[in-house]
């Protein structure tokens, strides 16, 4: 159960934000995120890969959101006229939430100095600029960057392939 906690704490906010693209009410978003995580928990032995789990969570959250909108009379026309029900909208939403989740996870796990280098690099700074900013040599920036990228790469691979909880 405690192994699952880390997963829950990462996915819960992401699912809330995902759902908020459909539903404006924050409490309803939280309810849906909670429900789909429970749903997953009850059938957790049926999944082998993380992408299957994520897919299950996102699709379930989307279906629940659309059902909720349908139940509210005032919103029926909105649903018909907007594209929120479309596959494109779903895909765009998953891409935003999951890409950013992966980036956050990967960066958070870097050691502090490597993290600073990557953050500055993401802000568009060149190696010499980063070196000046951090008051270290360009050589060190280069080394830190190299290790950071290797770790990011490993981490991104892990995030995708492996899915093991000791429950």
């Amino acid at each position: 159960m405690n192994a699952f906690r880390g997963f829950f704490e990462k996915l819960y906010p992401v699912l809330c934000v995902f759902t908020s693209r459909y539903i404006k009410n924050r409490e309803q978003c939280e309810d849906i995120a909670q429900e789909v995580l429970l749903l997953y928990w009850e059938r957790r032995d049926r999944f082998d890969h993380l992408f299957q789990v994520k897919s299950f969570l996102f699709v379930s959250a989307r279906n629940r959101s659309l059902n909720l909108i349908k139940r509210e009379k005032v919103n029926r026309d909105f649903l018909r006229d907007s594209h929120v029900g479309s596959d494109d909208f779903y895909e765009g939403n998953v891409i935003e939430q999951d890409t950013y989740l992966l980036v956050r996870q990967a960066i958070e796990e870097l050691p502090p100095r490597a993290r600073t280098v990557i953050k500055l690099a993401m802000d568009g700074l060149t190696n010499p600029e980063i070196a000046r900013e951090m008051n270290i040599s360009a050589e060190t920036v280069h080394t830190l960057k190299k290790t950071a990228y290797r770790k990011l790469r490993e981490r991104l691979q892990d995030l995708y392939v492996i899915f093991l909880f000791s429950i």
Binding site: V17, S55, I95, L102, V103, L159
Partner: protein
Amino acid sequence: MEEKLFRLTRALAARFTGDESPEDKQIIEEWIDGDEHRAALVRGIMDKKRFEANREETRLYPAGKAWKRFRRATGRGHWSRVLYPVAATILLAGVLSVFRSREMPLPVAMEEDEEFFFHSGTTGALLTLDDGRIVNIDKQTALLMTERDGTTIIVDSSGMDYHLPVETPAEEVYNEVRTPTGMEFPLTLSDGTRVYLNAESRLRFPVHFPGDTREVELEGEAFFEVTPDAARPFTVRSGGIATRVLGTSFNTRAYGNERLVVTTLVEGRVELLGKQGRWEITAGEQGCYVKATGACEVRRVDADLYTAWRSGKFIFRNERLEDILSYLSRWYGFEYEFRDEAARDIEIGTSLDRYRDMEPIVRILQTTDLAHVVRVGNKLEIYSK
């Protein structure tokens, strides 16, 4: 199809961090497949501002409470479900004392020990830079940033420090530091003034104080140690009044949902400027400004009581239970509900260690003869006895 989608997000994450392999590039190109809409979506995802905005959004949904709710739904013994009808029946009967009898143990006792604690807050804040970028700062963060005007911002475990650029900048650049529930944050402004920001507070300030003024905006609570500078008074604007000082230590409490703005002076002298007048307070005095009327009462107090949070304690003396819980909930992140009106006005005195979990106060409340507390999930329900 779904697998492809998650291969894509991984490739996008690699591109975002600047670590794109030829394979990633190919995955992205294949997905776009000349579609202008998809190409635009990928460009949008690469926008750092959007990433920060998304991060900020996820912070609206802290997982802590949700996890407890999840545990209750999956765990054994759904005692909260059982408790509600029981509590209701007892309330109707008006026999609250039944809870105390041996035959019926307190529902709280059924909970596991770890669930009994409210964890104490910690160091952390959200920093909004002048260009709208938001940086999350926690205990582990070590950062060096440069603002638009050249001011260097150093972040480490001891807080945040603003250092002036060599040349004095012409434009005004503002930063904002915000602490969520259960977080506090220390910072040093460009003039050397130390500010300790309590939970659920917001401080807006110029990265570099222009000309002969030093002015900041506060919502919530903060303790200030102002660097003396007779030529440049330091002003804190909060809840409709301005606190003007030359160089002293004081605490301002100005939460949006509270009736008063309370300024407590540790040393020196400050001036309160409101719409209805001007008040002077000296060391050991406290100004209670009533937001609704614009009136202000100055009284002598034990300043330690009101600044204790700064030195790691919470000290309350004959304070209303409602005020105490309102205050503590910002730090420990719990909810509370008074099940009868009389309980709000119960006065108690206690001293707590700010960095310890909150279990002791639940105990105190339960063992005093004054109030009865039942915990339901993240919520304390309080009954008078």
